[in-house]
């Protein structure tokens, strides 16, 4: 259990919402591609949105 917590802290850090956003973005890209829609643009947009959100949250926290 301690090892799992350590791995979680190491990879995900203190902002699990960013990690969840990355998983959603990759899954949505795969789903769109599977439906025949070109979706290479989705992950870069998601990255920018996640970064801005995470910065604003961290900045407000101070």
């Amino acid at each position: 259990m301690t090892v799992l917590v350590a791995i979680w802290d190491f990879v995900v850090g203190d902002d699990w919402r960013t990690a969840a956003g990355v998983v959603v973005a990759i899954s949505a890209t795969a789903a769109l591609q599977g439906a025949g829609v070109t979706a290479w643009w989705l992950i870069p947009l998601a990255v920018l949105a996640l970064l801005v959100r995470s910065l604003l949250v961290a900045a407000r926290r101070g």
């Binding site: 190491f10 990879v11 995900v12 850090g13 902002d15 960013t18 990690a19 990355v22 998983v23 973005a25 990759i26 899954s27 890209t29 795969a30 591609q33 599977g34 070109t38 979706a39 290479w40 989705l42 992950i43 870069p44 990255v47 920018l48 996640l50 970064l51 801005v52 995470s54 910065l55 604003l56 961290a58 900045a59 407000r60 101070g62």
Partner: protein, 250 residues
């Protein structure tokens, strides 16, 4: 032997990441080495380096055996999560919303802690458990991030060897300079390097995870030459915005 742009990006990212982590570990090793025992500190460094090398040697081939599509999704996703963490912290530091790493301050703190810890280390050639443990822990903890980057980046391009060489060169360089000056490397632009590593990890993570999810980038690998500068410019713009709008922090 020629190197592709992606391989150069891999080597550069690993080199920068490893340099930053090695500078941080060096500060601690120098502090306990100076106050307690050089020999025991270096034994700790050696033991940790060996453990990290074994980790790379064991996990590298295992990761490389995963089918490329699945590997790109897993590794791309991990690099994205990891890279966004590095980038967020570097942007916050550059904007003045998070304290910069202070190697001289850390050195003073570690030196004081080593002085206060336990009994006198004894004769110069006696084994000092404190110096050994602290040095081992410092190198192991800082090194794990490098191992993660070496493995993910390296396995994805089937160039774990190249990544490991870049990491080893960074360690050798930092060690040589650190022991030559016998002081923490406080003038290394750590945050600028972390910023660059964050950009590279996030860019490669976005590129590979999209490919793993079935997308094809316009221009193929050349898309990275657009993703990296666009993300860098956007990140610099975020630094500027956060600097100009300190009210956001309150």
């Amino acid at each position: 032997m020629s190197m592709s742009a992606a391989e150069f990006g891999l080597a550069l990212s690993v080199f920068l990441a490893c340099t930053v982590e090695a500078v941080e570990a060096l500060t601690i090793v120098l502090a306990v080495g100076t106050v307690r025992s050089w020999r025991s500190s270096l034994y700790g460094v050696g033991a940790a380096t060996l453990a990290l090398a074994v980790l790379v040697a064991a996990l590298g081939p295992a990761l490389s055996a995963i089918p490329i599509g699945a590997l790109r999704v897993i590794v791309g996703g991990l690099l994205l999560v990891f890279g966004l963490q590095w980038l967020r912290k570097a942007i916050l530091r550059a904007a003045g919303l998070k304290a910069l790493h202070d190697e001289l301050g850390n050195f003073a703190e570690e030196t004081e802690r080593a002085r206060l810890a336990g009994a006198d280390p004894g004769p110069r050639d006696a084994f000092d458990g404190y110096a050994f443990t602290v040095s081992l822990k410092a190198v192991l903890l800082e090194g794990l991030e490098v191992v993660f980057i070496v493995l993910t980046f390296g396995a994805n391009q089937h160039r774990v060897g190249l990544a490991a060489i870049a990491a080893a060169l960074a360690v050798l360089l930092v060690t040589a300079v650190g022991f030559a000056v016998r002081a923490p490397l406080a003038r290394v632009p750590e945050n600028a390097m972390k910023f660059a590593v964050g950009i590279m990890l996030t860019s490669f993570g976005a590129f590979w995870s999209a490919e793993g999810a079935g997308s094809h980038w316009p221009g193929g690998d050349a898309a990275l030459l657009v993703i990296i500068p666009v993300l860098a410019l956007a990140s610099l713009a975020m630094v500027g915005t956060l600097r100009r709008a300190p009210a956001v922090a309150r």
